[in-house]
Symmetry: D2
Subunit: 412 residues, 4 copies
């Protein structure tokens, strides 16, 4: 018969005390895939898991002390994208953080750097040179661009890697070198890397070893525009993107320009015409359109920690209406958990997706005949970075794509 | 025996399609065991039967498609505490929202009122008079004080009820009438109601039918002070509480004083000496001290949506040191998931608990000899309201206390 | 001849005592010359007589204690534009508030409604029906659109009036009725009213009796675009305006959507394609271009109390470069105190003008060939409302245009 | 004699064009002290002034090109207190900034560092070693503590100096060395320095050459407490100060802890029991009480750029009531422009004083019998720093104390 007899043990029962309690707290969400044997020991839960043929996690682990889950490393855990990965993984049923690096914070606990993560049981931070990569099945690489290339090139090739830097996003090495002002040191990996815009590249991501996680702006822009360009619904010329971002996109490094006093209660444009996300956006739109696309892209820094909106002004193809755009996007994303096309007339707020992996999109008719306005909002640290990274990693490992990602937006 | 064999169906498998997928997305966290047998260890008795009885979940289970969960109603779902309950329940493995009321929004979807909850499958809002309470096993009552009494009095008595209003917090009806300026209309329920400060009243809550969920300030104050007073470590006289709260504590109703422009970039005291949380705080401290406690309590409105800190100035008993306070609190809460006594010298930030059910506490020696400073932070909407309500409801129904509550704080 | 004889009295002497001092404190900035004779140079005619005549300030007032100033009324003083007028007038050397109305607050002091203005000596608020307009030489009308028309129509015709509502901005009554959904009740005044975009209409404003003060968005847009259109430097088609505003633009009335909790840490578009400032913008641009201009205009609500940026995307005329735009704007505004064209490459922040009457503008070359990006920032309550109103009133009365307006921006 | 003959000329007239305009803009507020002769030249205003016996400004006045005003230097102009001095001086009728130093920004214009000050005509920033102090009559010293001592010791002794650092606030050099962890390098100046809490030390300040400008917290605390202690209205024991500050108090240097993302939407205590303002507060209260006062002082960092509140809990002397405190404070400050005792029951907001030199104070009866709660708010950068510095400088030079300081608070 189809039912399980389950000694739910700790899962929903309130029976455990002491040190066990904490780990079990997490196991409340922790359930197991295809075949699971859970044994309760003195202090730890042991879970044997057999999905791992997909995830290429060693399935051996026989015996009662078997530990079976996907062991995850976070390289560069002392920044906001790193901590965000760790936050999301706290509720992931299969993945467990077993390695974290942060060179300048080596030897410290993560909770000394990010006290909000104090409740989790985590390994201490170590220097990347001290990392034992045999301890992990995959890594999230949250390092700065430039340094990332050589580090990833030096990783064992059996690891699944999601890179959150810009280093492998641009297929054309020359373009990388132009925008990032230096030679690319791992061009062979650039060829291998799969661009991880999940909803639009799911098949390739599932079989990838190295995924280049998209930038936040490119995610918010491509999700609505790629389908419209692919289907010849909008002109490829004259696309104007006025984008607005929260401050966390600038990371946690100390800069005068990002002090509270410099940001609060004011806004300004930045990177006008030369923001580094431009070539990434144009690469995606060019591929969708089938010929070179040049966009107008102006980002703005907004006094909020998280959140991003791209307000996109497009010219529709002759004969195409806003209803056509709306219908087409709705159809394209109708089965997607994380991309939601709002009903006509509804305006997305960045609040509606804060802390979550969702992207809300709406389409409006412009006053200027033949033009449309597309509004697209995400949380820049989740769908724009760590959430999409986890979404990709889920796919790469073979677990359900939304695992660990269904936390709802935090409002207010 | 301790092991479960579980056919977890397709929960983490990535094969899915169409509308089914969305539901599954949620069921990743939600799926209830089709047949549940819970074995309890030393501290608690078997709760599996209790779940089924108390929550009156159809125990049919005939056939493999049976769904078994606890059906939850949210009365007053259009306010911030209501929406917060719904947000938290999205990840709860056992509870499902089957009824939501909001008189002025009756007929609307919750997502039209709170678009951030758009991704959940929820019933529409209805007027409370149209509610069919046979459809629910328990309710969270998020209605304004005053109206709450009669509504709860009229509910079927088999329902578990957690009331988030102030109506049943004060055991002394006269005190209620003095502070709330009107007669109490359900004094018999006031007798029945259990005050739901979870960590300090766990046993009574487990067997309660009606729980009066504590106020936010009283939660942040009592968690550290009650153990210290009970153990005669601090004087009951001269307790000074300087409290700071985010604006969401004031609810979602439109008031000039709570406009963005009136709040941002400024702070002020309010309710000086006459805030309605005073009698609740004094009630709890008086009981702990064994004789009447009168506190100085001054709340401040801070330009942030969520978060609360109570900075508490106390006189230690003769011979008692700050180390004694720290040791005692650490010991008292050493097995608690949600109350964390920080290492000496560490300062809690409201950021560290935002969006989560945690309370972080630290203790400092004051410059004035014999005095100590206690810092206590919570998220006023979670541990200060809806999170603690869910924690209580978990206990009342017999599931693990932290179910649905292990989402980590959102930072930045 | 050109000189005044002025008894400067004790203005800066530090010898003072008692109640006198306070009044003197203010008079440091406010004291009016007892007898004033002002001589004008080339550009303007003699205004000294005009001040006295037009403003009908009793010029006699025999004896050396005569006080001579312009008596000002503020209609609708309980809103943000009203209080902003009063704030600015505190430092005005010639104008003095002698009448303030606020129907719902009649009988109260202004400081009970706006405690930040407590230090000023001001008359109490009265109902507009109780106002004695013989007490004032001019009024700022800060009332809601719609009600404004009849009130202004009923004022004594010798009063100078600056109206901050939208009621007299649109020259075409039909357009008013279309956008404001009702008949216009004073079409004869609409004909008389001069549109008060100061730098572009100075001559007409100087001789006006009724000035329609521009909206905030239209001010930020027209200051850079009108000269460019008038001089055929940009195309009139395809002008895309992505505007961002602080929340004070929505006024002080209590609305759920403008609560702190709804605004902080998030942003969203609003009034997409149908914001009421559209016809005002198009009216000004159409006049400048010489033929009908239709713009794309999308405002965004930003979590800040004050500040406004219009990011404007334009197509340059063939052969025109960004340098041409920059040179032309710099030349056009080179003698203006309040409109500043930034050096090439400099990005204006709304911070740079907060609390002040300045408009900072910069021009950038777009990535799309032939296009330019214009950034224009103002404080929506000052240059976007009350500051420009005072600037206009100064002109109408014949005092120096920047009187009372040289307070520097407040940063941080 | 006491009167001036003044060619008011440009002051309120709209007659000037071109470069003149800007300087004249400022002269709108510019009026002259005891004896003034102002002559208008081609491009510049020349003002001859005779107050300068006090300020030791050369009283030449011979010839028509005489320039007479007080020449002010700002040392350390690239920080927030420096820029705030410059902002305030823009409207000062007598003082003119003729020297600004900022070592790391030497060679730049101030507007490149603080674009909000772009409209002012100012000298470029230079290194302090390049400063020609014969060009100034006085300086505001806005340098970090520690380095300040030697710099001030090396200044020409004819200069009036207001020091905004902590270096000369503590009369007891040993205490300085204990709290600032190093030897004091100018103990002779520490003896000379007058502590510049203006309202309480006016007489000494008027004749001082070197004023140690008080810290922000000490200002907010001492203004209400010193009169109460001096008059034996409150006990000197058990004074508990819970203080809250905006972030600008931390200055403009880049620190991770002060990033927008670390501050926004959260609060926390800091410097618990060991903030460096403690000895300054205790010094002032001890002197007032006549015997050693030890306070409990806990500051909190609030998500706002400006503003400070001290919530002060005191024990009243036997027989004293809150009405006594209120009456006494009201009487003590009844003639002060900048210290305002609010009516009973009124709550001061930091908003009410933002951007201004005001201090608002109110007094409440505590729930605990015999205790009172005092609320005191200031703008930490104005009355808490640069505004009070200017107030002191006005006194030292002999101009009216509130000159340049009557700008009203900016709200919202």
């Amino acid at each position: 018969m189809a039912l399980a007899t389950l000694a739910l043990s700790s899962k929903y029962a309130s029976s455990f005390a002491g040190d066990v309690r904490r780990l079990e707290g997490q196991s409340c969400m922790l359930e197991a895939p295809r075949v699971v044997t859970i044994r309760q020991g003195a202090r730890n839960i042991n879970r044997s898991v057999q999905i791992m043929n997909v995830a290429s996690v060693p399935s051996t682990e026989s015996g009662s002390n078997t530990k079976s889950y996907v062991r995850v490393g976070v390289l560069g855990a002392s920044g906001y994208t790193g901590s965000e990965i760790v936050r999301l993984l706290a509720l992931h049923p299969i993945f467990q953080v077993t390695l974290m690096t942060a060179d300048r914070k080596a030897g410290q606990s993560l909770s000394s750097v990010f006290p909000h993560l104090l409740a989790q049981e985590l390994p201490d931070l170590i220097a990347i040179n001290d990392a034992d990569f045999s301890k992990v099945d995959g890594v999230f690489c949250c390092l700065p661009h430039g340094t990332t290339q050589e580090i990833i090139a030096a990783l064992p090739t059996n690891l699944k890697v999601v890179d959150l830097s810009a280093d492998f996003r641009l297929r054309d090495v020359n373009e990388y070198e132009e925008w990032y002002h230096g030679p690319h040191r791992a061009p062979h990996l650039q060829k291998e890397a799969v661009y991880g815009l999940t909803e639009l590249r799911r098949d390739k991501i599932q079989s990838a070893r190295l995924v280049a996680n998209p930038g936040c702006y490119p995610t918010s822009v491509q999700l609505p525009l790629v389908p419209l360009l692919e289907n010849q619904l909008i002109e490829k010329d004259g696309i104007i993107i006025d984008a607005k971002s929260g401050v966390s996109g600038a990371g946690r490094s100390a800069k005068e320009a990002n002090l509270y006093t410099e940001i609060a209660e004011g806004l300004h444009s930045y990177g006008v015409t030369n923001h580094r996300h431009v070539p990434e956006i144009e690469q995606g739109l060019t591929e969708a359109a089938g010929s070179k696309v040049t966009v107008s892209f102006t980002p703005h820094l907004i006094p909020m920690s998280r959140g991003m909106q791209s307000t996109i002004y497009v010219q529709m193809k002759s004969g195409i209406t806003v209803d056509d755009l709306h219908w087409h996007l709705s159809d394209r994303y109708k089965n997607e958990e994380f991309v939601r096309i709002l009903p006509k007339g509804a305006v997305p707020h960045t609040h509606h997706v804060r802390g979550s992996n969702y992207c809300f999109v709406s389409v409006f008719k412009d006053r200027i005949p033949g033009r449309a306005i597309i509004l697209s909002v995400i949380d820049n640290l989740v769908k724009g970075a760590s959430g999409q990274a986890l979404q990709n990693f889920n796919l790469m490992v073979g677990v359900k794509e939304d695992c660990g990602l269904l936390q709802q937006p935090l409002f207010p």
